[in-house]
Symmetry: D3
């Protein structure tokens, strides 16, 4: 089985880190193909960055489809471009936020999300509502750690994340913690041991969900909102994305 993991930002070191996280949990027969777009933002921190990550992301999805992958993972916690990717793929597509939330709901009665920046909180609150997790999700919290600081060994990013988890356990009475960023995968086992409850990362959760969907032969429904794009002409820079029959 081959799974495409698209890091929607253009920071290759983060793609590698995400790819390594994905491979660390992949089943024996699963090949993880971790890529990032050539075009777009170096990190995704808010609604504006999201926009410019999606065309490149869809380009990678299209390549994956052409190459016959068995499933796709969108490795940005905003689940950027998820609905569009589903219209463009026949293989299943899973976002890491939805992966983390569905997974958390299976091992805990409630959870809080700890993400990076306050500016990302409203978008995540919107996703929580969209996915029907408003009751289970106690609160979306920001540790005010910039995405790329997670890459920097000299930052105190981890200390700040741990402080925010401690507050979620104390104040929100959360039964589990969801780490709301693609760069946090390697922290989960330590944090889980430290806090004595499940700490969930979306990338590894998504790998197992996509492996499962693919094994079951399930594909995205093409009835309704995820129907294939209608053939039409795109003008200018986006001409090459024009949907064909």
């Amino acid at each position: 089985m081959r799974i495409l993991v698209v890091n929607p930002n253009t920071t290759a070191s983060m793609t590698e880190k995400i790819g390594a996280a994905a491979r660390s949990v992949a089943a024996p027969g699963t090949e993880i193909i971790a890529v990032n777009p050539a075009h777009g933002p170096e990190s995704i921190e808010g609604y504006y960055d999201e926009v410019f990550s999606v065309p490149g992301l869809l380009e990678e999805i299209a390549k994956g489809e052409a190459g016959g992958v068995d499933g796709h993972i969108l490795a940005c916690f905003d689940d950027t471009g998820l609905d569009a990717a589903r219209t463009a793929a026949t293989a299943p597509v899973v976002g890491i936020c939805e992966a983390a939330l569905h997974t958390a709901a299976l091992v805990a009665g409630s959870f809080s999300i700890v993400t990076t920046l306050a500016r990302s909180v409203p978008a995540l609150e919107s996703l929580v509502q969209k996915y029907g997790m408003a009751r289970q999700c106690r609160r979306v919290r920001a540790s005010e750690v910039p995405v790329l600081a997670l890459e920097d060994p000299d930052s105190d990013a981890r200390a700040e994340i741990r402080a925010e988890i401690a507050r979620a356990v104390e104040e929100d009475r959360a039964e589990a913690i969801v780490l709301g960023c693609a760069g946090m995968a390697d922290l989960t086992r330590d944090l889980s041991a430290e806090f004595g409850l499940p700490v969930i990362d979306g990338v590894v959760a998504a790998v197992k969900l996509v492996e499962g969907l693919a094994a079951l032969g399930l594909k995205t429904s093409k009835v309704g909102g995820y129907a294939a794009p209608l053939p039409k002409t795109y003008a200018g820079d986006f001409a090459r994305f024009s949907p064909k029959t």
Copy 2:
């Protein structure tokens, strides 16, 4: 007062039609600047088309901001790119779906939306939920009229829309009708008279809302989700969109 109306698709005839609709209700001192992106889909019918309309749309918003407009209208009923546009603008930004829904809620206790294609229904249902209108909105209905058919005088598009409105009145007990497409502005007065209830178009609704916000000196909040994009580097095709300090 100058209001920028961005038709996010690249069909100039539709931009003209939208601009004319906007001008037909603009206050004496309001100048309507109707534009469309140079890049992107000729019509927006589903999640995939949405993606490729937003970069061009944001380019137009940026030009409008640079030119000092007093407000922006996004003239696609999916409210494509609305959150991102708000991060990029200081003037207020209103989408035509939210404009129509908020307006409908002021003149009726309930309403149904009549849009073009079934594939657009789930995206609109998501917006209805996001805007808090799930109780007021009885149902989102598709008349199965393609967007560009509304431009074609020989199509039976209008007959099909009227049939769907009749069903909304009868089956949904809707007290008002929202027309869920940017190309339907000129139909509202006739349909309203025919069916004896408010029939609401998002473009004209948005013009009055933006005029109002601008007159009140209200600007989009920059605290939280709509904070200005953080300065960073965008790679490749999108380099020119990189947020500056």
Copy 3:
């Protein structure tokens, strides 16, 4: 265009203040007619006061309709009598709470309401739910300033309101503030500058919404809940209000 602004309490100085606020934002061609009932409470602070403000309010609405006004504003933040006023009017009717909430939703992802007395909070929470704003509205807060103290220059009303706004920004992470009282209109620009986010007053918001509805030729739906009252006999003191054919 002529807009009737009904202050549902009988304190003329507050009517003047509300009228002045409305005029300060009215479009050039808009005439604001600010009135209050002859009968009823001097201020509206809770469910009981609400009841006795509505007959007088409807009397003013009826006069306005007879005089051919283009729209009505109910200038009490409880939106007292709004549904009834809609059955009695052909011109659109907007309450200042709903005006403020819909306006806030266009410029911010979330907001908190700061009102006067704790006893008014449950009624506002009910309105928030009725209008579908439960997700956007973080919290309804009371500053414990009595309505008429807002009229008194020697009270420390403004200091208390500012303290409550500061708490809303800090504790609720609100992106905007709605002032939950008709007597606070003149505070908004200063508070908005002080706190660096939109501070919204319902009276001025309502003026722009009614101007917009009237300009669009939209009238309250008479299909369903807002149908004109059925003709019947009212006994005793209310005989003069009996609906006629």
Copy 4:
């Protein structure tokens, strides 16, 4: 124990009918005092009629309080004036809509409401939401029987109500039926037998709830929204209602 049952309309024959219904289920020691206001509409059919029934209703509540009754019932299915009555009473106050809904929730997993006129449906839908019964209540249905026709033995009111119940059972899969009008109390046993499921009338349900609350010594909370009205001056016709210290 003495319970005041206020029919908020001024039709004495309906008051008698309601009083008889209440007495038919009252416990041995319970005295039912059925009254109606001297002032106001002869029947309540929509938001406008509601307004003019409440001052008279509160006058009756005040008399009841002065006379030391143990509880109050508001016998209009719109629960007109319920919140205000609670601020004015120390004894518990129950509306017949809420009584019917809470009772239905104890004997069935879901129910539909069958009321008189379509114009009353939106108000009842609002109550259903306010009381938290949106999941349990499948649908609010109108049989298009005017309130006073229920008084007329020659009308086919009952046949129409039965037809609507049949539709609720078939189409809504309702497990119980709530009769949404104060004049339907005598129909419930027959209809219950005919349709083989609970058919619930609000008046008799309210009698048992108020008897229970009074027996438990429970009174309306005076902390928050139902605090006693603040002393102040009411102008004109309503001077006699001015709250005293």
Copy 5:
């Protein structure tokens, strides 16, 4: 009238206490039959204990039905086995959590629940949602008093419960308090006086609700989810529970 009160745990001293509480509010003609199962947990503290209380509980319900009781009360605040008991009974069945919640909603605009252990909170939050009380219920709070400690005069259980109520009043702005445990009935009048708001116990609330339902001749609907169990064979230990035709 005879009402069966089933304490679903096997601690006879608690059954006596519950029975005494029930009798203290029962109407003159009401006989309270307080029982507990012979089989099952000595107290119910969480989901696991719940399971083993229900077979015995249903055995008591069946005996009650055979003996012709007029109604049943399930006296565990988790409303353990309520849906199953309704399928097995013709007389009405009321749980003490739902009884307390419906009763609270009639005398206050909002309330908080104070229960014993934190582990019970998620189950109660689920019930709150199921019963539609999510808006009215501000918070479910645990005082961390074990169930059986309420039986022990030397414990400081009552002091801890009072401290938690004080927090609910202060932090949650609750207008009433629901005591979330079957052993707290004798505390309500004192606490209600101390805190100046309604403090509600589920056992006594349920007695009055069941008396009311029985007096009205209302029985659980047998259409839909509460239909009598289909006849079939139960294997092993549970053979004696096999539903018969």
Copy 6:
């Protein structure tokens, strides 16, 4: 990896069928141990049957835990005993209803559930709400096929299920179908091909979810509602289930 699949009813032929379905999708290294309790109902059709399946189910879970399995599946679509099983297990526990719903949400924007008997619909509607899937789940439909009829090759069970699916596609505009019964696993591929959309079975969905959770090292949270049962004495028949320290 070893996964325990508990069929909570006592019909061994169904256990075999469920085991075979589970094995058909298990990963190479996964051993499926399919069991059913010795005690309890032969099929689970409604709330009453549920009760008597759970003690035996928990006995099987306990054996599985003692044997060191890596995860548990509860193979009844009512997710009977799920919360209790989680308190009793350290390995993750997944119900087949939640498995099917979370899986459906990853491949379709909406779905309908087709189950066996109308009496089971309310319980499933409750689960849909509990899991936060009320928006995604269009409707829970009953085909009126008894559970054991699915075992009978001569019944017309499959024809009736297909007819109900057809109605879900047409009337509910569902984008996917969830089969709401543990005995339908072998139908999914054919039905999916016939109807051109994902048809999802809970048993196979649960296998892949549990494999995923186990691979990630995720265990049920023991903080809050799923904490291990407190040690205490169970009386009578259930003494052997008494939780130990």
